[in-house]
């Protein structure tokens, strides 16, 4: 999925994985790999790129656990945009 690939690139750059598809899989648990501040940096980058702002209560393990989950979150917020 295009969005997942894009997110993989963004996140890969943030956490230093150049070959995202080799070292970061869409279902890898990000919370096991990076700390809270890196997660927030990742979220901020994603919000900026896609012009969305997630509600605070959305930043939880259900939505942040993997690239796939983040992609679902981004898709949902993009759909909600006017």
């Amino acid at each position: 999925m295009q969005l997942e690939r894009e997110l993989c690139e963004i996140i890969g750059r943030q956490i230093g994985n150049a070959a995202c598809d080799d070292t970061l899989k869409v279902d890898d648990n990000l919370l096991e790999l990076v700390d809270s501040i890196e997660i927030i940096r990742i979220v901020s980058s994603i919000e900026k790129k896609y012009g969305v702002e997630f509600a605070d209560h959305e930043l939880n393990p259900e939505n942040l656990g993997s690239v796939r989950q983040l992609a679902d979150l981004v898709s949902r917020y993009r759909t909600m945009k006017p």
């Binding site: 979220v43 900026k48 702002e53 930043l59 393990p61 656990g65």
Partner: protein, 439 residues
């Protein structure tokens, strides 16, 4: 112990009734000296000097089981509350290895003070592990909120000299974060917490407490555990001073009741519901940060043994104890074990300093935790056996070392959990996911 020393060693009248035994004990000399301040030659010398001062008060604090107010005042005046705050934020910028060594020096004087002090540093260290410089790149509301939290925390520690405590364990649950029952829910402007926390070191004395609480809704398989910062004066907090224990008596690890305790939204520690991931990803703060304390106890025990044996003869003879083969054997065994644990502890701390959260650092931390937790009670027991019955008296510091030393093995990660973790990691099994952890 003559009365000229009694002002420096607050043993009091009880000790004078055991003069003979008290003289046999190598109570640390206390030289008040000039005020200890951060301009001491180096951090470890500063901590050693403070440790010496704490040793002179340790008996009294331990016996009464009261909070070591004077020790914490000394720590605060020496600006050691900011030992882990990066220098660019006004702190002393110690890395994990330096911190471990500093804690060891404090613990040689008074292990309970060092252990309680560590609970403050867990809060600071967990934050400073992150690449704080990268926060400056963050834009927007979210970035601002995180930067404000960081600035607030560092200001409280550096400029205001505030002390932070940690509240994670609970009655019936212990340290297992995934099982805690203290619950929080989101409300307008923040959160409301209800529950009970146990083993809250400095409970009722620290200015703030970082409380581990469970979200009132689930996030899949992993409980959503968050940390929330609560002020001591919060009307929803009630401390029960029920700490009366075998060892670490002056940590005052009391029970905390949280009753409709409101916490403002900006007092959420970084990110919500991810604390269990932090525990398993970076194990050093919750598992290995107090390795220095138990290493310090073991060091104090050995120093006591050497001094005790020096100049003494076998009962009824003129034969020096130090010339006895069995004494030499036991001293050699103690020292070898001590130095092995020290090497492993420093190695683990160095690995953390270089690569916090790496698998090598995590395995090393568990190995070190196991070794110091087993070493300290063993060496204290050996010392009592070697030095004899006079060291069982309360006036003798070895008696306190023995009791304090026993606490390490039941603090997380327990000794059996440490070995299981190391075994799993070495066998290539999962140790990174919360589901696989002892938390």
């Amino acid at each position: 112990m003559d009365r000229a020393n009694s002002a420096q060693s607050p043993i009091g009248e009880d000790a004078h009734s055991h003069d003979a035994q008290a003289r046999l004990c190598a109570e640390a000399k206390v030289d008040p000296g000039p005020a200890v301040h951060r301009e001491s030659p180096d951090l470890l010398t500063l901590c050693r000097d403070l440790g010496s001062r704490f040793a002179g008060r340790a008996f009294e604090y331990d016996r009464a089981g009261i909070f070591p107010v004077k020790n914490f005042e000394d720590l605060r005046r020496a600006q050691l509350y900011a030992i882990l705050v990066p220098k660019e934020y006004g702190g002393l910028g110690a890395d994990f290895l330096t911190y471990t060594k500093a804690l060891e020096q404090l613990a040689i004087g008074d292990a309970a003070t060092a252990l309680a002090f560590n609970m403050h540093n867990i809060v600071i260290g967990s934050l400073t592990d992150s690449r704080l410089d990268r926060l400056e790149e963050l834009e927007g509301r979210r970035g601002q909120a995180i930067k404000q939290f960081r600035d607030w925390l560092f200001h409280e520690v550096v400029a205001e000299g505030r002390l932070f405590a940690t509240a994670a364990s609970e009655p019936g649950v212990g340290f297992r974060l995934s099982k805690i029952k203290t619950i929080y829910k989101r409300v307008e402007g923040g959160f409301v917490i209800n529950g009970v926390k146990s083993f809250v070191s400095m409970g009722g004395h620290a200015d703030y407490c970082i409380v581990a609480a469970r979200c009132d809704r689930d996030f899949g398989d992993i409980p959503g555990i968050s940390y929330l910062v609560i002020e001591r004066e919060n009307p929803g907090v009630r401390i029960v001073e029920d700490w009366d224990t075998l060892g670490m008596r002056s940590t005052c690890s009391n029970t905390m009741y949280l009753e409709d305790c409101f916490v403002p939204a900006d007092r959420l520690y970084l990110l919500e519901a991810v604390a269990l991931y932090k525990c398993t990803r970076e194990t050093h703060w919750l598992v290995g940060s107090y390795n220095g304390v138990y290493l310090g106890i073991a060091s104090a025990v050995f120093a006591f043994v050497k001094e005790y044996l020096s100049g003494r003869t076998k009962a009824g003879t003129h034969s020096p104890l130090v010339e006895d083969d069995l004494v030499q054997y036991r001293v050699g065994k103690m020292w070898t074990a001590l130095e092995a644990a020290r090497a492993v502890t420093y190695d683990a701390a160095q690995r953390v300093a270089e690569a916090p959260g790496s698998s090598e650092a995590n395995i090393s931390i568990h190995r070190a935790k196991y070794m110091v937790s087993e070493l300290a009670p063993w060496i204290a027991s050996e010392a009592i056996a070697l030095c004899g019955g006079s060291t069982m008296f309360k006036a003798c510091p070895l008696e306190r070392y023995y009791r304090d030393a026993r606490c390490g093995g039941v603090m997380p990660a327990r000794s059996e959990d440490c070995l299981t973790y190391v075994g799993k990691a070495l066998l290539g099994l999962d140790v990174m996911s919360p589901q696989s952890s002892y938390w």
